[in-house]
């Protein structure tokens, strides 16, 4: 593959991924409003377009045309930088996620992953430290929220961002440790390898996903830590509206607020993608031999999307069901329950691999 084709393919992949991700983010807000409404026995948005399907577009237009207020008391440069940081770190993670197998089109074969290329033997390869880079980007995501709160120069924002920094740093440890079990089993940090290790079925119908291969506990630790990392209910103390107005984005309006909003949903999507790749086998799934050929080609993408959709629905379901933690409970839960549990899981996995149990 020449440098020019490589560049063109990369740019096309980036554009497609960004467009799809932004659309998914927009429609996740609608999904959330609809599902939460149903849980609370309401209809949810249903006036704009059929079933309210144009609601995200209306929301976006509203955000753009709203007055963009910059309060006089803020630290201007950091105030402007914060939403950009939050949004960028949230959007970058998706570049490392393999969403499908190698695509063959127009005589070019390339994996459905921005950071992936096809090796000489036709196999998809990606950065060998892909998962660690995702963790690193997630770690940098704290700064958007922390700086937003500090630069706003208001007590609610500052309290919100202090809470969120402490929370994200604490839960990152449990999050990272819960993934190590999977890494031990896969023996690689490359997400392509991890997905490849999970293809195949037992007795033709139980998929060989890491979730079913002894990583149950890790999966639940990851889920809970991910809720905390994305500041979602029941861990949404950084923006607890009953005590902090809106937390770290109290002083933000118009598109700057929308960027935080989109960052939260993009984070939800990427966390769901990583959970699908690591625990639910990525794009692998049950074959559907009755489908015609053209749909067969989209089957891996369908399975991946279905898994991500499942996680998004789970997020919203939990939001509609659970109350918010108290702050000391949240910290105690992270450090005294999740962290030791993740360590025990790691040791059990290492023991299992050393003894050759799986």
């Amino acid at each position: 593959m020449s440098v020019l084709t490589f560049l063109i393919v990369a740019v096309v992949k980036i554009i497609v991924t960004v467009v799809v991700l932004l659309t998914v983010v927009a429609y996740t807000t609608l999904l959330e409003r609809k599902l939460v409404a149903r849980i609370q026995n309401r209809w949810g948005p249903h006036r704009v377009g059929p079933f309210g399907l144009l609601q995200p577009i209306a929301d976006g237009l509203k955000f753009i045309f709203k007055e963009d207020v910059t309060p006089p008391f803020v630290n201007k440069r950091l105030y402007l930088l914060a939403p950009v940081l939050a949004f960028t770190t949230a959007m970058t993670t998706i570049a490392l996620v393999p969403v499908g197998p190698v695509i063959h089109a127009f005589g070019i074969s390339t994996p459905a992953q921005i950071s992936g290329v096809t090796a000489a033997n036709g196999q998809a390869t990606d950065i060998n430290a892909g998962l660690l880079i995702i963790l690193g980007i997630t770690g940098l995501g704290v700064y958007g929220i922390a700086l937003a709160g500090w630069s706003s120069n208001s007590k609610y924002s500052l309290l919100g961002s202090l809470r969120s920094s402490a929370q994200m740093v604490s839960y990152e440890i449990a999050l990272g440790l819960s993934l190590v079990g999977v890494l031990l089993m896969a023996g690689s940090l490359s997400l392509q390898d991890i997905v490849r290790q999970q293809t195949g079925m037992w007795w033709g119908w139980i998929p060989k996903w890491f979730l079913f291969r002894g990583q149950f506990v890790a999966f639940f630790i990851y889920l809970m830590a991910a809720f905390a990392e994305t500041n979602r209910i029941p861990f949404d103390l950084p923006e607890a509206e009953t005590e902090l107005v809106a937390g770290y984005h109290t002083e933000y309006s118009s598109m700057k607020f929308a960027m935080f909003f989109m960052a939260e949903y993009a984070n939800m999507v990427s966390v769901a993608c990583i959970a699908s790749v690591l625990f639910l086998g990525g794009w692998s799934g049950w074959p559907m031999p009755f489908l015609p050929g053209i749909l067969q080609a989209f089957l891996p993408l369908f399975w991946f999307a279905a898994k991500v959709f499942f996680f998004l629905c789970l997020y919203i379901w939990v939001r509609g069901t659970l109350p918010r933690f108290r702050y000391d409970q949240l910290m105690a839960f992270g450090w005294k329950v999740l962290f030791p549990l993740a360590l025990v899981n790691l040791m059990a996995t290492a023991l299992g691999i050393a003894m050759g149990w799986w």
Binding site: A129, L132, L135, G136, S165, G176
Partner: protein, 167 residues
Amino acid sequence: MLHTILFLIFAVVCVGGAINLLVQKAPIASALSLILVMSSLALIYLLLGAEFVAVVQVIIYAGAIMVLFVFTIMLLNAGQEERLPNAGKAAMLLGIPGLIIGGAAVYWVVTHSSVGGTRVALGQLYGSAPSLGRLLFREFLLPFEVTSVLILIAIMGAVVLARRGEQ
């Protein structure tokens, strides 16, 4: 070629960030410049082929330690840095010879270091996770384990210091 261009970009960002770190008076701006320096250093490591070290640099330094720095600055709401009178003179007296010595040392290292008779080229170092892990757990197992004991002692010391205030 591409490596060299990328290296130059990140090197300039890194040095610029380091200078900004010293020039800025607000502590938060200095902390942010330090994050920039660490991130661009990580990218230079990545260019050298040391992907594991690069990511660890981001996760631990930029992602964990600097969050604590920023957290502390936010919590204390630290204002402007106070400068001593005559600090400029002292900086001149110590800084200029220091710069010259440092530059000479860097020049010597660059011209004299070699791997197998040739100069170190970009991408020639081995820093992938498997090779680093093999080094750590085979050749350097004892130092590695001793370091973990050292860190454990540091943690216990921190707990003792934190508890002293409560009594």
